[in-house]
Subunit: 315 residues, 2 copies
């Protein structure tokens, strides 16, 4: 088992990233307060650079590379935000980023990666195919592999979002975070444990991709047989770096139905006038589903990102 990161390591990540990422705002909504019976605070990582928290982890992981690793460049496999995040972070640091993406990834996502200077390799759509292809290219070109979520420095970088959050709102009772590959979830749980005051982290997941819920239940990393969820950022599974942190510091995971995700997403757009992706709506949907637990509590909701294809909305 990996050693759980200590407080000074989060401190270091925070100081390193501070001047390179946006301090994203915290919004409130009278409407959702009325709906939930809680007092809600929304940490708007959809306003983060490249539209999601992922730039934090990507950039911090690259900052930790030595000169010999930086020169040839880095590689990852991702069909989503991490592909963009690593491309942008690498271009900020003058490093090459090689991205293995499924050939059927949306054109809008490939275009974003290219815009940030990432070099795309198209491959099959299963994660096994992508992993093998990434490994082949890594060896061939002498690159460093950066996993999108199961990487200690990625977790530390991602933790800085919740560090900001509990600093901006120091009296939160809960922070609710979506759980995908576990990189944001683990970072959030760490930050809340070290910097929160009587605050606990709760995860949220679609029923259709509830691997993390089952992982906590059976005390071992579980996988998804199907991932038939609109929350495309949450189809991945945990790893040995983030699972121990989630197990130790996450109170529980609330699962939500697809209809709840879509309705909540539409409601956030209509009421708050901000664009969030389905994965972000999962966190608020969890609070609305299990209202009783949150009555009169101060609840922080992490809106993880806002990258959506406007031509292909789920509502």
């Amino acid at each position: 088992m990996q050693r759980i990161p200590e407080k000074y390591e989060l401190e270091k990540a925070y100081k390193s990233l501070k001047s390179h990422v946006h301090l994203t705002p915290v919004l409130t909504s009278n409407y959702f307060n009325r709906c939930s019976g809680a007092t809600l605070f929304f940490k708007c990582e959809n306003f983060q650079r490249m539209g999601a928290f992922k730039i934090r982890g990507a950039l911090y992981a690259l900052m930790q590379l030595d000169k010999h690793q930086r020169t040839p460049g880095v590689i990852t496999h991702s069909s989503g935000n991490f592909a963009q995040a690593l491309s942008l972070a690498a271009s900020m640091m003058g490093i090459s980023a090689h991205i293995v993406m499924p050939h059927n990834a949306p054109e809008v996502k490939k275009a974003a990666v290219r815009e940030y200077g990432g070099i795309i390799y198209e491959t099959g759509s299963t994660s096994l195919t992508r992993e093998k292809e990434a490994e082949r290219i890594r060896i061939e070109k002498g690159l460093t592999f950066i996993h999108p979520s199961n990487n200690r420095n990625v977790i530390l970088g991602n933790a800085t979002a919740a560090m900001e959050f509990v600093h901006q709102k120091s009296d939160l009772d809960y922070v609710i975070v979506p759980v995908g590959g576990g990189g944001l979830a683990a970072g959030t749980a760490l930050a809340v444990a070290y910097y929160g005051k009587n605050c606990q982290t709760i995860g949220s997941e679609p029923f259709e991709a509830d691997d993390a819920y089952r992982s906590l239940l059976w005390n071992k990393i579980e996988y998804n047989k199907t991932t038939n969820t609109v929350a495309d950022g949450l189809r991945t599974f945990l790893g040995d770096e983030n699972f121990p942190i989630i197990k130790k510091y996450m109170l529980k995971i609330i699962r939500v139905e697809e209809k709840e995700i879509i309705d909540t997403m539409k409601n956030i757009w209509e009421r708050m006038k901000i664009i969030v992706e389905p994965s972000s709506a999962v966190a608020l949907a969890a609070v609305l589903r299990e209202k009783s637990q949150f009555q009169n509590k101060k609840v922080g909701v992490i809106l993880s990102g806002g990258n959506v294809d406007l031509k292909n909305l789920p509502f």
Copy 2:
């Protein structure tokens, strides 16, 4: 000709509204700075109560009514944001709001008016029909008519958005505002003239509804023969209360094509992750169209509102 409001009248409106409306944030965007060559600041009235600046004017107009006017209630005709704004403002003050709307107004807008407690009267879709019906009901019920834009107190209330803006960013060179019925445009021009430091107001309009542009050109209120624009909030025309203010204090009006409006709106959604309505995109589209004027200038853009029908997007 009406007397142009003086500074102390804006001061009074600001004090009256301060605790009843949101102090909306000012956002920035590196992307649009790069696109325009200017340094842009966006005043986010899309985050205002009921999703648009209109609550400011509606509420301030109602605050000025005496007891004998408040008891029977108020009436307006509007197919858009002012219908919602007057309904919400009236419900906040315990006054009845009667709203004459075209029978073909989108169901989503009627639902919003009802939600805020407004009483709807459906009528024909021409403005003449609506005006006549509103006048009939006004007399029958002894109501006070509140015009959506050509009302002195509505203009004063709307002015508070730009008063906040030039306070939040005191070194703006220009403030760009969309021109519809002229209520926001006149309020903004007044606020910038009285509180800006070497700052000027520029209007923006679709070519397809350029009545205000022609009004400035011919020095009399002009109308639109057709209003074939996606910017549904800008199809109306000026009036005797707001035209003298616009004439005196607005530097000029920039007109934009429909494609520019739609592209800019989509770009704002995708890049800034905020929801704005087409009318708001007109203001930024004007800056992007006439870039040369704004090079290295500090330009404030008023994003007037964010009420859109997600089922019926123009892109």
